[in-house]
Amino acid sequence: MLQHPENPTNTFSNIVEATKPWLRGRTISGVLILVGHLAFAYHFVLMLLKFGRADGVGPTLLAKPESAAEASS
């Protein structure tokens, strides 16, 4: 796949073809990011619509902190 940059037999269409699998990979990673953004936007809209927790338990954390004093979002 890797060719010397000044190899005259390496045609332009060859180079374009060689990028295709990588471009497909980019689209797949883009789909992943879109999923993340949709989850985020949905969560954000929930907050705007006042579905947020107001039970005074403290911030939403991803796991339990080891000591309660450290919990500051």
């Binding site: 990588w22 993340g36 969560h43």
Partner: protein, 436 residues
């Protein structure tokens, strides 16, 4: 809401002051955030369509027959052609860049900057109506601008695709915020000026200057010939280096110490990093034009400045790392810290990669390839956007008085975006080198 930071725990007067500041920020900052999230989703869709089209060029160039017939029935003649035309790569690609850069990145940064300024000046937001008006004006500009791009009216100058009248709306909106920030700063409570404030003040001063000058020299009284390219990349790189970067760093300098509850490691390093960035970043633009028909000294000095950027980057990285040292376990549970630290680490990587790409030897291979696209996503996404996500997770509960609904949604958000962006950067880098 527990809100322990640099202040003494249990200091009721301070807590009350912070609550008042947060309440005053509520409407304008949420306006900036909400519009930014909207443009983020729109911009991501644009980007995905553009990306898909690079390997399947015919994708939705023709709408599916049933959709076309449906549209023909219920909408004016020519709608189908209009949609087909507006989704071509040449239009959707600048629409992606402008939607994510000016629709998402700039407003979310402004929202964070407005809130940080109020918190750090320790005064309730002055003139909230003015800030909200600037946000509305900005979004009017965005809607018109994206409409113009999709209907084929791009100026075809990268980073300045919006026509002059749209740029003027954005400039006006931005100028309002800049003037507001100066007013806030003048009326701040006496005391220490924090490093985040320097970065914000600098960014708010630099950007209108850059944007105004670039629009003047490219749209209104166009510089001719290759000088135009110099102006273009002077603006293009400075928009990243002197606008998004200081805002991202301002947020990181605030959030990391705040969440772990200890001061920044070194005041001296913060000051040093700031001035080194101000000194070196402003002449990096020329490295986009390596090999171009320009005076060699101009490009060489730009390469030198690009490599000198290693200094502020390493200084900032050391400062953040030493602040974090001993507190890495907080990453396990704090959503804010996880996003912000991911961003701060990406800043180091993106900047060091950027310095290396300015070398002529590497540039020969990577210039005009997908490698550069990988680099720009590492910078603007993995660094800047991830830090802004972290800020939103911190600020929104404080403005709304409610906590995030679900830790699972935050986890999904973090891991899809983290894996997504790492995969994208690696794939584009390898693909780019092969292409080069």
């Amino acid at each position: 809401m527990s809100d322990q930071g640099n202040n003494m725990p249990g200091d009721a007067a301070d807590a009350l002051e912070r609550a008042q500041v947060d309440a005053s920020c509520r409407v304008p900052v949420m306006l900036f955030f909400a519009s930014a999230v909207f443009w983020l989703v729109v911009g991501t869709l644009f980007g995905l369509i553009a990306s898909y089209k690079l390997h399947n060029p015919l994708f939705i160039i023709e709408l599916s027959p049933w959709l076309s017939s449906l549209l023909e029935k219920f909408s004016p003649a020519g709608t189908v052609e209009l949609i087909n035309a507006s989704l071509t790569f040449g239009r959707i690609r600048p629409a992606h860049l402008n939607a994510v850069a000016y629709g998402w990145a700039a407003p979310v940064g402004l929202g964070v900057a407005v809130w940080l300024m109020a918190r750090l000046c320790r005064v309730p937001l002055r003139f909230p109506l003015l800030v909200s008006a600037a946000g509305v004006l900005w979004n009017i500009g965005m809607f018109v601008g994206i409409g113009v791009l999709l209907s084929g009216g791009s100026t075809s100058i990268e980073w300045l695709e919006f026509p002059p009248f749209v740029s003027f709306i954005l400039f006006l909106s931005f100028a309002l915020i800049s003037i507001w920030a100066v007013d806030m700063f003048v009326h701040r409570k006496p005391g220490h000026v924090y490093v985040s404030q320097w970065y914000i003040m600098a960014a708010l001063f630099w950007f209108p200057w850059l944007y105004g000058t670039a629009n003047m020299l490219i749209q209104l009284i166009p510089a001719q010939g290759s000088v135009q390219a110099i102006v273009n990349w002077w603006y293009g790189h400075n928009a990243l280096g002197l606008w998004f970067t200081p805002l991202g760093l301002a947020a990181a300098y605030y959030m990391i110490p705040k969440v772990i509850g200890r001061p920044v490691y070194s005041y001296y390093l913060s000051a040093f990093g700031f001035w080194a960035l101000a000194l070196f970043y402003s002449w990096n633009g020329g490295h986009h034009l390596i090999g171009g028909p320009l005076p060699a000294w101009l490009i060489t000095s730009s390469i030198v400045a690009s490599v000198m950027m290693v200094i502020p980057v390493v200084v900032t990285a050391i400062n953040h790392h030493m602040t974090m040292k001993g507190n890495f376990q907080v990453l396990r549970y704090s959503p804010t810290l996880r996003f912000v630290v991911f961003g701060a680490m990406s800043y180091t990587l993106a900047s060091l990669q950027g310095s290396s790409m300015a070398f002529r030897d590497l540039n020969t291979v990577t210039h005009f390839t997908h490698y550069t696209i990988g680099h720009s996503h590492l910078g603007l996404y993995a660094f800047y956007t991830m830090i802004m996500f972290g800020c939103i997770y911190y600020i929104v509960p404080r403005l709304l008085g409610r906590e995030w609904v679900s830790a699972r949604l935050i986890k999904i958000h973090f891991w899809t975006c983290a894996y997504g962006i790492v995969a994208m950067v690696l794939i584009l880098s390898v693909g780019g080198v092969i292409q080069g």
